[in-house]
């Protein structure tokens, strides 16, 4: 199963590297959103610093929608989704592979946006360990929930508009937890960062298990 998950993840990441959609479209989109936030608040540098964690994670979630949508679009484009069903690969491996590929893309996005936040919003990192752990756990949570909901809407003609409507409310706990953890890591609020990290890890674990168990049924319906 791990071999198959690795196969799926490697395929998805290779496609993304080749197509450069992430680099040429998703990253510029995310940077643009971040810059617009900076323009909107630039008269108040203190407010920028205070709200930087929340703005960062809102931007990550918006960009994640594009990455998740694309992950399923490449399978649907020329019938590869049917081939995946016919391949005999365990749906759990497909779920794990796709979630892993999305998580890797989100981590790369977080690194690039993190640099942008430090430069644009003038924040200073106080707790690197917390920052890294929260970033990884949040990426895992968004990727697992995103893969699950991406498969849920994959077969629908309105999937591009339905995915945000369904997914954003679901990942609200990730937004809250990651924002609190980053506030602690940036030293802009007295949040219990490590406790919020627990919430992020729990969210990722729950959606990881739930997604793995239900993914087969979702693929059948897609």
């Amino acid at each position: 199963m791990f071999r198959d998950a690795w196969l799926i993840a490697g395929k998805d990441l290779r496609i993304e590297m080749r197509s450069r959609v992430g680099l040429n479209q998703i990253v510029p989109f995310a940077v643009t959103v971040l810059v617009l936030f900076a323009f909107a608040l630039d008269t108040d540098q203190e407010a920028l610093r205070t709200y930087a964690p929340g703005l960062f994670w809102v931007t990550v979630l918006l960009a994640a929608l594009l990455a998740i949508g694309r992950s399923f679009a490449v399978d649907l484009a020329d019938g590869a989704a049917d081939r995946l069903l016919l391949s005999g690969i365990d749906p759990i491996a497909v779920f794990g592979g796709k979630a892993a590929a999305i998580a890797v893309q989100l981590v790369v996005l977080e690194v690039l946006l993190g640099a942008g936040v430090v430069l644009l919003f003038d924040v200073t990192v106080h707790r690197y360990g917390l920052l890294v752990c929260a970033g990884l756990a949040a990426a895992a949570g968004v990727a697992t929930a995103g893969t699950l909901y991406g498969a849920l809407v994959a077969g629908l003609g309105v999937r591009e508009t339905l995915l945000p409507v369904l997914l954003l409310p679901v990942v609200a706990p990730v937004l809250i937890g990651a924002t609190r953890a980053f506030q602690d890591a940036f030293g802009v609020a007295g949040a219990e960062g490590w406790a919020w990290l627990g919430l992020l890890a729990g969210f990722a674990a729950i959606y990881g298990v739930f997604g793995a168990l239900s993914y087969g049924a979702l693929l059948e319906e897609a």
Partner: protein, 234 residues
């Protein structure tokens, strides 16, 4: 002998529309079967049902001994379906696509090389991204990605579409070779003259039902059934 395909009163609904409206069909292992009939007759749905991609709404069905209602995953592992779409990734090269599907099926690098060789997808073509290929080349790459799976049941929907003469001959050779190796081949095509050399058993599909299952049937692909099909749809 266990049937390769056995359908009894098989009904498949696409929404409310009965794409298959009570099909009875037996196909023995090693047979080459031609499904003929007008557009919209249910040939593609029948192939997808046999592949385990469509569900049985009512009736019963077995493919390679597996129940189509409860063992579709087992069916899927043992069949190959060449549909209207290629099932390939535009941003991967031909070799990467074929290797991906080969690894998914547990096949090795040697199987990939053999499949590429058989479909004349060697040299620069093998390292070209699928998105940059012509329609015919994409079709060949799609067939190569099925060959590596060594399926026991081939389900081919218009296998010659978009191919040049040389590649059509290659496909015919593949079909003969698969049948000679004991695999069953079910294909749907309008190119009856071309398929005749393979000496298939001809099964007419009209209005979602098998209307004739006669080796001597020489009825044309559109004979008298289009109007009937139109009435059914309306």
């Amino acid at each position: 002998m266990e049937s390769a395909v056995r359908l009894r009163a098989a009904v498949t609904l696409l929404g409310r529309f009965p794409a298959l409206a009570g099909v009875n069909l037996d196909i023995t292992p090693g047979e080459i079967v031609l499904l003929k009939g007008p557009n919209g007759a249910g040939k593609t749905t029948l192939l997808r049902l046999c592949a385990g991609l469509c569900t049985l709404s009512t009736g019963q069905g077995w493919v390679l001994g597996h129940d189509l209602s409860s063992e579709r995953r087992m069916v899927r592992r043992r069949v190959a379906l060449l549909g209207h779409r290629t099932g390939l990734y535009d941003d991967l090269t031909v070799t990467e696509n074929v290797a991906f599907w080969a690894r998914a099926a547990g096949a090795g690098r040697q199987d990939v090389d053999e499949a590429l060789e058989r479909l004349s997808l060697t040299g620069r073509l093998a390292d070209t991204r699928v998105g940059r290929l012509s329609a015919g080349q994409r079709r060949r790459a799609s067939i190569a990605s099925l060959v590596v799976r060594r399926p026991e049941l081939w389900l081919l929907d218009e296998p010659h579409a978009g191919l040049d003469q040389q590649t059509r001959d290659t496909v015919d050779t593949l079909v003969r070779g698969a049948a000679a190796a004991g695999a069953t081949v079910v294909l749907a095509t309008h190119e009856l003259e071309r398929i005749a050399v393979l000496e298939p058993r001809v099964v007419s599909v009209v209005g979602g039902m098998v209307r004739s299952d006669d080796p001597t049937d020489s009825q044309g692909p559109n004979a008298s059934s289009d109007a009937e099909d139109d009435r059914r749809v309306s």
